[in-house]
Symmetry: C2
Subunit: 339 residues, 2 copies
DNA sequence: TTGAAAGCGCTAACAC
DNA sequence: GTGTTAGCGCTTTCAA
């Protein structure tokens, strides 16, 4: 049995209220002497306040909910580590919720999350193309949580928090433009899940670059995967069948799948086909032919999310909702060549 | 404000006790009629019990603590996903604690964890070579938690739970033996953190294989990194300076670092040096020269940990402590060659 | 079958 | 400066 405030009170010959105040970090009217005594006894018994009790009365806990799709992607796990690093230092812990892509489940999940007395929510999953009704349902569920919510996309939530967005459109544009600058005209696109907002944005960038160069858009050159390595692997033969000289892969994972398939089919990168990835995960630079890719400042983003979350939790005045945008960067490596 | 049991009681014209019982999954003596009514109203208001209150009275929460070093390693994040997948289905969530390698911090962390009203703890960080005093302190802190504790190593904790261990010694042996079978006599070892138990075990396997083949152990051929890609990268030139024809890398990450360095130095794998990794992360199979490595059944292990944890939480009778061991497997790919 | 009441551990008025 | 008390939302005796 953990020792409680009551045990300490008894031992010190004071009331529980005094103990509570003495142990509180707020400035109180407890005498130095009593305070010292209480702290000493508390330490002696290795006292730890019961979080459930504290949450119950404060209506807030030291827990921050975090929701994402898949942690196996290095890009996500790096983000996670960065966020955790910040909040942990302030005594908060992340409670994980991993969610498959399905609007219905999201609301169920939120009911669950809401019961958890979290102090904030970090919604790090990709935004999908929701119907208006789905959107409304999700927003209602979020509002009911009544805590600040950070998102990684423009969810349009009406609650306090920040939408931390990345300019995927620009990223798609830069990647494609680079290929065009290298003389490619027939550029395949291995896209991610079609119903993700971030997929559509990258695709717009891709189209924009093509249009700018006077290359007509051919939807046969665009093929949809699911952002996993395996999907890149599976899609390779289709896209090569379209006689492309270059591929824009919407993330590095899929690009790795492409590498693997290329090896299998004996197609060499970049001699026979140029490849640009997206994310800049650490492995991108390990390959025999390092992957040219679009960099995302994950450390910076993670740190910001963590700090902003803490600020929202600790600041009493409401701050409303704002947007913070990060920009892409082309990382030129070995997987693309001029033709 | 979330709706409470009280609101429902008022609306139904019954007492809170009745509502509580009606909503409980245990068999109760509430009339079907009342029960139906209560459930209907609860659903109407989207009622969710307040976890803090439930925890406070039950002394248990729907939270499971999990402690690890670094999630960026695909091997760890896969494990995490598997575990989460199992416990989430049963309504539990994982609360993350990431911890640097330092005994002192561990106990601090545990104090923190203990305050969180978790129902079980999954200690998925590597065991270090502790002094007896450190061991005792850690064990005491663990005992005070008074919840089942799963570990991924032989921590020797005295509490209820399971040590899920992997035969790293055998893994080290198999990896080295494979190299010896391929005719290598001068085999470098890029080890992980020296103070980790798992490092020492792999090293023992390495030595065992050498001895068996009548090759004398040369400690100059063993060099210690920290299991990150970067450390493999940094250590490459040293180990090549020792004129080895093969390298046993204690994990895949470091092997990738070796790949990268090899490319930089223009050393080809496996022509000039054979490499064996350890873990079998998905990327191992992506490389131009796929990495021969030691497989760990991560899915199986993660699933077992999740299920065993749930069993320990839900079963009332104490189950004591047991050990479950998993075995390594050599995955022959392209990074080793006969000489 | 249902209700009243106590209590889980803690905080914060309010009283002394 | 310190103690008394109410109450956070819920479960669980014990009475009715």
């Amino acid at each position: 049995m953990q020792v409680t405030i009551k045990d300490i009170a008894r031992e010190c010959g004071v009331s529980v209220a005094t103990v509570s105040m003495a142990l509180s970090s707020k400035k109180t009217r407890v005498s130095e002497k009593t305070k010292a005594k209480v702290i000493e006894v508390a330490r002696k018994y290795n006292y730890q306040p019961n979080n459930a009790a504290v949450s119950l009365v404060n209506k807030k806990s030291k827990l921050i909910g975090i929701v994402f799709n898949d942690l196996r992607n290095t890009h996500i796990s790096s983000l996670f580590m960065e966020i955790n690093n910040v909040v942990e230092k302030r005594g908060y812990s992340l409670v994980c919720h991993i969610i498959e892509d399905d609007g219905a489940v999201e609301c169920d999940l939120l009911r669950n999350v809401g019961a958890g007395n979290i102090s904030a929510l970090i919604w790090a999953k990709s935004l999908e193309k929701y119907t208006n009704e789905e959107k409304k349902k999700l927003n209602d569920a979020i509002l009911q949580l009544d805590v600040p919510v950070m998102t990684m996309d423009n969810y349009g939530f009406a609650c306090e928090g920040t939408d931390v967005v990345f300019d995927y459109r620009q990223g798609g544009y830069i990647a494609t433009k680079h290929l065009i600058d290298y003389g490619h005209r027939r550029i395949g696109c291995v896209a991610g899940k079609k119903n993700y907002q971030v997929t559509q944005e990258r695709l717009e960038g891709y189209k924009m670059a093509l249009q700018e160069a006077g290359i007509s858009y051919d939807e046969k050159l665009v093929v949809y995967g699911d952002y996993t390595m395996n999907s890149g692997y599976m899609l390779f033969s289709y896209i090569m069948g379209k006689k492309v000289t270059a591929i824009f892969s919407m993330n590095d994972e899929m690009a790795f799948g492409i590498y693997r398939a290329a090896r299998m089919y004996g197609v060499s990168i970049p001699e026979e086909v140029s490849v640009v990835g997206f994310d800049n995960v650490p492995f991108a630079d390990v390959m025999q032919v390092p992957l040219t890719t679009i960099g995302i400042p994950v450390e910076e983003i993670g740190k910001y999310i963590g700090e902003r979350t803490m600020e929202l939790i600790e600041c009493t005045e409401k701050k409303g909702r704002n947007v913070r945008e990060y920009k892409p960067q082309l990382l030129l490596r070995g997987s693309t060549r001029k033709i």
